[in-house]
Symmetry: C2
């Protein structure tokens, strides 16, 4: 479970505010998740997500006290940018990043729940497709959706994916899923809280790329 | 012709050595070419190429005298890296960059030569496909080839592409092509010389991604 254990998220405080520094630390280990998918094709996605994180960090380090929580960042950028907001800065970067985080959340949850294609039990296409539909599809135009369908063919076998998630460690499938479920507890709360924040601040955009 | 005129390449000297500094200056305007394609899908390609240029520049600035020509870089890296070379450093970056440059060369040449699909005279798919087959296809596995085929659907109409190439300027199609042909003279010599150098130094690799 190396990959996921490296980015154990903390429990959220009651007000669901998310500490920017800790969030950035945890989330910066996430891009390596895409290496578990085992194909060069996913490098592109890894660098899109890395770009989001870099953008958020660049705002944070300008004034760590002012930007102590993710909510602080959105509120400050709303002040600073007027009509351009939320299509700008760390607000835009986190808007896209959260979709990638949701993709991972739904993919892992679906695997841990044992959802699978009985005719192809060693493929994870149903799980990847479910994750895509819950997170990104509606923000992608038809051409990018077609590209997704082609990229789906590069998705690893289920067994290889689980092995990659547990990299280096000899674990049973059940141990692996126990770790996934453990990881998902706080991770899902953080992702859900970010979505809630975007809804509350009316910061969500639904243009397609 | 704004986009291309901004990166007029110089005539090569008789020994066909390529001045690194001038090459980097000219080629750094090339990534904006992909904006002419008019779809967000191509941002990915733009950043791959930008990455190549950044990598070559990083080597050059370490010792501009030592790395005065592109050939100097390859020879120095061959010395420095032993068995890993040519799969390393600026040698690897330029190996991929030249394929993107060849793609652009063949695409523009094919358009200037008037090659087109008589049934779809306002599409450039035949030209893009020809460029792809002459430059990149053999270095792409079947999944990336499928992704290319999907991305091809995002290629602009011929008229829009020509307009974008001449950005801001009102030019006739014939003037536009005259500019393209003018641009291609030195540009093609430079691209050909880089290919020749890779052959002569035995620096070419043919793995697929
Ligand atoms: C030569 C042959 C090749 C031809 C060309 C092929 C090109 C293929 C390109 C396909 C798209 C790759 C994915 C990237 C898509 C990106 O376009 C989107 C939007 O990206 C956002 O855009 C914003 C502006 O609108 C800002 O720039 C954001 O940047 S900012 O930080 O500056 O604000 C940026 O993240 N991100 C996304 O859709 C996010 C994607 C996350 C993916 C999550 C997992 C999916 C896994 C799939 C598994 C099967
Ligand atoms: C969520 C949904 C989305 C799902 C995911 C979709 C993902 C789609 C990804 C498709 C591939 C995008 C194109 C990039 C491909 C790249 O993989 C290759 C090799 O790239 C090289 O790799 C090396 C190591 O092997 C070094 O890292 C080089 O980097 S180094 O500088 O560090 O040494 C790097 O350039 N470059 C290429 O193939 C070059 C591509 C040039 C393209 C030229 C024009 C094509 C125009 C086409 C018009 C129709």
């Amino acid at each position: 479970m190396a990959v996921l254990l490296e980015s154990q998220f903390d429990e959220l405080p009651p007000d669901k505010s998310i500490d920017t520094k800790i969030f950035l630390e945890n989330v910066s280990k996430i891009p390596t998740f895409f290496d578990c998918l085992g194909s060069k094709v996913f490098t592109v996605i890894k660098s899109d997500i890395t770009g989001n994180i870099t953008k958020i960090r660049a705002v944070y380090v300008k004034d760590p006290a002012k930007y102590a929580t993710l909510q602080d960042i959105l509120v400050a950028e709303r002040e600073a940018h007027g009509a351009e907001w939320p299509n700008v800065g760390a607000t835009l970067a986190l808007m896209w990043l959260k979709r990638g985080l949701r993709f991972i959340q739904v993919l892992l949850q679906s695997l841990a729940d044992g959802e699978r294609d009985e005719n192809n039990p060693n493929l994870i296409r149903v799980n990847v497709t479910k994750a895509y539909e819950s997170s990104l599809k509606r923000y992608h135009g038809w051409i990018v959706q077609k590209i997704f369908n082609a990229a789906l063919l590069a998705a690893p076998y289920r067994s290889n994916f689980l092995k990659a998630l547990s990299k280096g460690e000899e674990v049973t499938e059940e141990d692996c899923f126990a770790n996934v479920r453990q990881f998902l507890v706080n991770y899902s709360c953080v992702v859900d809280a970010i979505y809630e924040m975007y809804t509350n601040l009316n910061a969500e955009l639904d243009y397609t790329v």
